[in-house]
C-alpha cells in the first residue's frame, strides 16, 4: 500500500473550468478524507458533473490544481489517472453493451495484468481471471446472469454491473455519479447497501440527488451552487444551513 501523504486523498485548490466565458466551476477548494464517503450535492447546473470530469481529467481545468495522495495530477491523462486508482462511474450506466456480463468485468480485471497489448495470444489466457470475475459478480448479485449480453439487463442491473466493473480495478478512490438515479425503491436499497459494503478500505466521492441516500451514507457533504462551494459538513449541519435550504432544497425543489 502506498503511504498516504496526509489524511486527504484528494486536495483540489482553486479549481476552475470555463466554457466560452461561462464558469461551470469557479475557484473550488475541496478536500476528500481518506476512507470516507463524501457526497457532492447541489441543484442542477451547480457544476457537480463538471467537477467530476475535472477530477478524472476528462476535462482539463482552466485554473487550479488537483493533488491525489499528495501528487499533482493536474496535467495527467484520463487513462493515467484511472491507472493511479481514481475510477469513476457515469450518470448514464457505462457498460459494454454487446459484451457478456462476465466479459464486462473481465475487461477491467485484465487491465492491471499487463497482457492487454498481447495481440498474439489467445483470449483463453484470460481464463485465470474467471474466478475473480465470479466473485465480483456474486457480490453484486449478477452471477446467475454472467453469460448474458449486458445490453439485455434491466436498468438497475446495469448499474450493479457497472459497479462490479469499477470495483474490479480495486480503486483507491471511487467516484460515483448519481449511483441511484433512475432506480426504483428496491434497487436503491440494493445499491446503497453495496456502496456501504464497498466503502470499506476505500474512499468514495459521490454525486447524488437522493438526499435520503446521502443522509444515510455520507460522512461529509459538500454543497455546490453555481460552481462554488456553498456549504460543507456532516448532513445534520448542512441540511439545516439556511443558505443551503435557500439554494438547493427551497430554491430548486
Amino acid at each position: 500500500m502506498t503511504t498516504p501523504a496526509g489524511d486527504n486523498i484528494i486536495e483540489a485548490r482553486g479549481l476552475t473550468k470555463r466554457f466560452h466565458g461561462f464558469s461551470a466551476v469557479s475557484g473550488v477548494d475541496l478536500d476528500v478524507r481518506r476512507h470516507s464517503i463524501h457526497a457532492l450535492i447541489g441543484p442542477n447546473g451547480a457544476g457537480k458533473t463538471t467537477f467530476f470530469n475535472l477530477i478524472t481529467k476528462v476535462l482539463q481545468p482552466s485554473e487550479g490544481t488537483i493533488r491525489f495522495n499528495g501528487e499533482d495530477i493536474t496535467d495527467e491523462s484520463p487513462a493515467r489517472v484511472a491507472r493511479r486508482g481514481i475510477v469513476r462511474s457515469f450518470q448514464i450506466s457505462a457498460i459494454f453493451p454487446r459484451m457478456t456480463v462476465a466479459e464486462n468485468v473481465r475487461i477491467a480485471l485484465q487491465r492491471p495484468t499487463g497482457v492487454s497489448f498481447r495481440f498474439w495470444q489467445s483470449e483463453r489466457t484470460l481464463s485465470l481471471l474467471e474466478s475473480r470475475v465470479d466473485e465480483l459478480l456474486d457480490a453484486v448479485g449478477l452471477l446467475p446472469l454472467r453469460d448474458q449480453t449486458a445490453a439485455g439487463l434491466p436498468y438497475g442491473r446495469k448499474r450493479a454491473l457497472e459497479l462490479a466493473t469499477t470495483l474490479a480495478l480495486e480503486p483507491e478512490l471511487l467516484l460515483l455519479d448519481e449511483p441511484t438515479s433512475g432506480l426504483g425503491g428496491e434497487d436503491v436499497e440494493r445499491i446503497s447497501a453495496l456502496i456501504r459494503q464497498v466503502a470499506a478500505n476505500r474512499t468514495i466521492l459521490m454525486v447524488e440527488h437522493n438526499l435520503s441516500v446521502v443522509a444515510r451514507l455520507a460522512d461529509k457533504i459538500t454543497v455546490l451552487a453555481r460552481g462554488k462551494v456553498l456549504a460543507e459538513g456532516p448532513y445534520s449541519d448542512v441540511s439545516t444551513d439556511p443558505r443551503v435550504i435557500e439554494a438547493y432544497i427551497g430554491g430548486d425543489e
Binding site: S77, V87, A94, Q110, S116, F119
Partner: protein
C-alpha cells in the same frame, strides 16, 4: 527586369494568381462542406460531383440548341448559367437530401460518408459513360475577355472576375451566417444540432435547405470554374479530397476560418509551384499533417467534441459463422479446390482482395474507426515489392516482406497523425494522407508514373518453388491469405482484441478503466496497415505489376465496399464481399465506366437496405432460427434478465 530568387516576377505573380483562383474555389467548396458537415454531420463526399454538375450545367445551357434540336431553345450564356445553374444544382441537392441523405441522419456518421461516396461514384460514373475522360471546352463570356496590363504582369479579366465574385460570395455567406437571424439558427445547429432539433422550427426543411445551399455553392463554383478548367467528369473527383484536407486544416467552427484557409492554401500551392513544382500537388496534404501535429483541432477549430469510435459491427460472436478455427479449415479446403473451378488468376485476385478487405475490417469493423485510405498501404507495399523484386532482384518472399515493412511504417505514421481526430475527421485525414502517397507515386522517378512498375518477376519461392507455374503461385497466395486470415482471427480474439472491443462499444468507459485507448487504436491501425500491405505486396507479385490504381482512392473505396457488402465486423464478411465485388467487376468489365456506376449503386443500396451485409444478415437469420427451434422443442425462451432476482 528584376528577379526574385532567380524567379521572374511574371512567373511568380502568375502562379500566385492561379493559386488565388484555386484558393477561391477551395474557399467556396470548403465553405459548403463545412456548413453541411457542421449542420448535418454528413461528410459530403459527393460535393465534388456536385461541383462538376455545376460546370456541366453551364455547358448544357450554352448548348441547349444542340442538345434539344427542333425545340427552338436559345443558347443561354454564362450570366444565365451563373443564376440558373446554382439553383438547379441546389434543387438536385434538395432532392438527394430528401431521397437518400435524410435516411442516414440517425445512423452512425460513417454511413453518411459511405452514402455520399456511392452517390458520387454513380454521378461521376454516369458522366464518364456519357462524355469519357475528354474535357469539354467552355468559352470565356465575351464581356470578360481581354485583360489588364498591370505592368509586371497581365491580368485576364475573367480571372479578376472570379477572384472578386468568389470572395464576394464567400463574404456574403459569412455575413448571412454570422450576422443574420437565419444564420443564428444555423450556427446554433452547428454548435449543438440536437438542441436545435428540439426547437419548434421545421428542422427537416431547414436541413434540406442547408444541404441545398451548400450544394448550390458547389454548383456556383462549378459554373465559375467552367471557363478556366476543362469541363470533365473527373474535375470533381480530385478536388473533393483536397477540400477535405482544407476542412481538416481549417477546423470546424469558424466560417471565416474556412474561407481564409481555402484562400491561403490556394496561394501556398501557387507559390510552391514556383519554387518547387514537384511538391505543388502534395503541399496541402503535407500542411495538413503538420497542422495535425501541432494544432490537432485545426487552425481555427475549437476544442473538438469527442465523437468516439463507432460500433458498426454486425457479428454475433457465438454464431457458427464466427468460428475462426472451423472456417480456416473450410476456407483452406475450399481454396485448395478453387483453381479447378475457376481460372487461378481469378482465384488469386479474390484472395488478394479478400485479405485486403479482412485487413480493413480489422480497423473498421473491430475498432470502429472509419479509415478511408487503405490504398496507401496496399499500394505502397505493391510498389516496394515490385521494385525490390524487379530492380534489386530480391527473392519473392523478401520482396513481399519489404513491401509489408513499408506499409507498416506508413501505417504507423498515418495512424499516429490521424488518431488525433475522431469520427468523420478520421476518414478525411486518412483519405488525404493516402492521396499524398498517390501524388508522390505520380512524380517519383522510381515508380514510373502512369506506367507503374511492370514485368515484375514472380521468381522462385525460397529459391526453388517456381512461381511462374500458375498453380504454385496460386497455392502460395492461398497460404498467404490463410496466414493473414488466421492472424486477424487471433488478434480479434486476444486480450488485445478484448480491449479493442471495449473501445468500440464504449470508449469513454474504456478510458475510465485506465486504458490509453489511442495507443490501442494505433497498434490496431498499424496491424491493419501491415496486413493490407501483405495483400498489396502479394498482389504485385501475382499480377507482376504495381500501378497508380493500387494507390488510388477507389482502391480504398473497394475495401470499404467489400467489407460493407459482406458485413462489417464479421469474420467472413470481407471474404464474401471480395467474392461479390471481384465477380461484379469481372462481369461488368466489358461495360467500361458502368462498373463505377454499378459499384456506386451497390454502396448506396447497401447503406440504405443492407447495413448488416450478407454475412451479418445471415447470422441474424441463423440466430433467429435457432431460437425458434429451441422454443418449438419445448425449451423456455431465452432467459430475460427481469425474471431473475437474487
Amino acid at each position: 527586369m528584376m528577379t526574385l530568387l532567380g524567379i521572374s516576377p511574371q512567373l511568380l505573380f502568375g502562379q500566385v494568381l492561379i493559386g488565388l483562383i484555386n484558393g477561391v474555389f477551395y474557399a467556396m467548396m470548403s465553405l459548403g462542406v463545412a456548413i453541411i458537415f457542421g449542420m448535418l454531420r454528413i461528410g459530403n463526399f459527393v460535393h465534388g460531383a456536385q461541383y462538376m454538375l455545376g460546370a456541366f450545367g453551364a455547358w448544357y445551357l450554352m448548348h441547349l440548341p444542340d442538345l434539344f434540336p427542333g425545340l427552338g431553345l436559345p443558347s443561354l450564356g454564362y450570366w444565365w448559367a451563373l443564376i440558373l445553374v446554382p439553383l438547379a444544382v441546389g434543387a438536385i441537392g434538395a432532392i438527394m437530401e430528401r431521397l437518400f441523405i435524410r435516411r442516414v441522419y440517425d445512423l452512425e456518421h460513417a454511413y453518411g460518408l459511405l452514402l455520399t461516396v456511392g452517390l458520387a461514384m454513380v454521378i461521376e460514373g454516369l458522366f464518364n459513360v456519357g462524355y469519357g475522360a475528354a474535357g469539354q471546352q467552355y468559352d470565356i463570356p465575351g464581356s470578360l475577355r481581354g485583360g489588364v496590363n498591370l505592368g509586371f504582369m497581365f491580368l485576364p479579366n475573367y480571372r479578376l472576375w472570379v477572384i472578386v465574385a468568389g470572395i464576394s460570395v464567400c463574404i456574403a455567406t459569412w455575413y448571412t451566417i454570422e450576422r443574420t437571424r437565419l444564420g443564428a439558427y444555423l450556427r446554433a445547429a452547428t454548435e449543438n444540432p440536437d438542441l436545435v432539433r428540439a426547437f419548434g422550427i421545421n428542422v427537416p426543411r431547414m436541413l434540406m435547405l442547408t444541404y441545398a445551399f451548400g450544394v448550390g455553392l458547389a454548383g456556383l463554383a462549378g459554373v465559375m470554374a467552367a471557363p478556366i478548367y476543362q469541363v470533365s467528369p473527373q474535375m470533381g473527383q480530385s478536388i473533393i479530397i483536397t477540400i477535405f484536407a482544407v476542412v481538416v486544416i481549417g477546423g470546424m467552427g469558424s466560417i471565416s476560418g474556412a474561407i481564409f484557409t481555402g484562400l491561403m492554401l490556394g496561394m501556398i500551392e501557387g507559390l510552391t509551384k514556383v519554387f518547387w513544382p514537384q511538391a505543388s500537388t502534395t503541399v496541402i496534404f503535407v500542411i495538413m499533417a503538420i497542422v495535425l501535429v501541432f494544432r490537432p483541432a485545426g487552425l481555427f477549430g475549437k476544442e473538438t467534441v469527442a465523437a468516439h469510435a463507432a460500433d458498426m459491427s454486425t457479428a454475433r460472436p457465438d454464431g457458427i459463422l464466427e468460428n475462426g478455427r472451423l472456417w480456416l479449415v473450410i476456407l483452406g479446403i475450399g481454396g485448395a479446390v478453387l483453381p479447378f473451378l475457376v481460372y487461378p488468376v481469378f482465384g488469386m485476385k479474390i484472395l488478394c482482395l479478400a485479405l485486403f478487405a479482412c485487413a480493413y475490417n480489422l480497423i473498421f469493423g473491430y475498432v470502429g474507426l472509419l479509415a478511408f485510405g487503405h490504398a496507401a498501404f496496399y499500394g505502397s507495399s505493391a510498389y516496394v515489392a515490385a521494385y525490390t523484386a524487379a530492380s534489386w532482384g530480391f527473392p519473392t518472399e523478401l520482396a513481399i516482406l519489404s513491401g509489408v515493412a513499408m506499409a507498416t511504417l506508413i501505417g504507423a505514421l498515418f495512424g499516429w497523425l490521424a488518431i488525433r481526430r475522431q469520427g468523420l475527421y478520421f476518414a478525411m485525414i486518412t483519405l488525404a494522407l493516402a492521396q499524398l502517397v498517390y501524388f508522390y507515386a505520380i512524380q517519383a522517378p522510381w515508380t514510373h508514373g502512369e506506367d507503374g512498375i511492370q514485368s515484375v518477376p514472380r521468381g522462385y519461392l525460397f529459391g526453388f518453388i517456381d512461381l511462374s507455374q500458375p498453380l504454385n503461385m496460386y497455392y502460395f497466395v492461398l497460404t498467404v491469405f490463410l496466414i493473414g486470415f488466421a492472424a486477424i482471427y487471433r488478434i480479434v480474439r486476444s486480450p488485445f482484441g478484448q480491449v479493442l472491443k471495449s473501445i468500440r462499444e464504449n470508449e469513454p468507459r474504456a478510458v475510465s478503466l485506465g486504458y490509453s485507448t489511442d495507443r490501442f487504436k494505433l497498434i490496431a491501425f498499424t496491424l491493419s496497415a501491415m496486413l493490407a500491405g501483405l495483400a498489396g505486396g502479394t498482389k504485385a507479385i501475382v499480377f507482376q505489376i504495381a500501378s497508380l490504381a493500387d494507390l488510388y482512392f477507389m482502391t480504398s473505396a473497394d475495401a470499404l465496399l467489400m467489407t460493407l457488402i459482406g458485413g462489417v465486423g464479421t469474420l467472413l464478411g470481407p471474404v464474401v464481399g471480395a467474392v461479390i465485388v471481384v465477380t461484379m467487376q469481372k462481369e461488368f468489365a466489358t461495360l467500361g465506366s458502368w462498373v463505377i456506376v454499378v459499384q456506386g449503386s451497390a454502396f448506396v443500396l447497401c447503406v440504405l437496405f443492407l447495413r448488416k451485409g450478407v454475412v451479418g444478415t445471415l447470422e441474424d437469420w441463423l440466430a433467429a432460427r435457432a431460437e425458434r427451434r429451441r422454443i418449438a422443442s419445448g425449451g423456455a425462451p431465452a432467459p430475460v434478465a427481469k425474471g431473475v432476482h437474487s
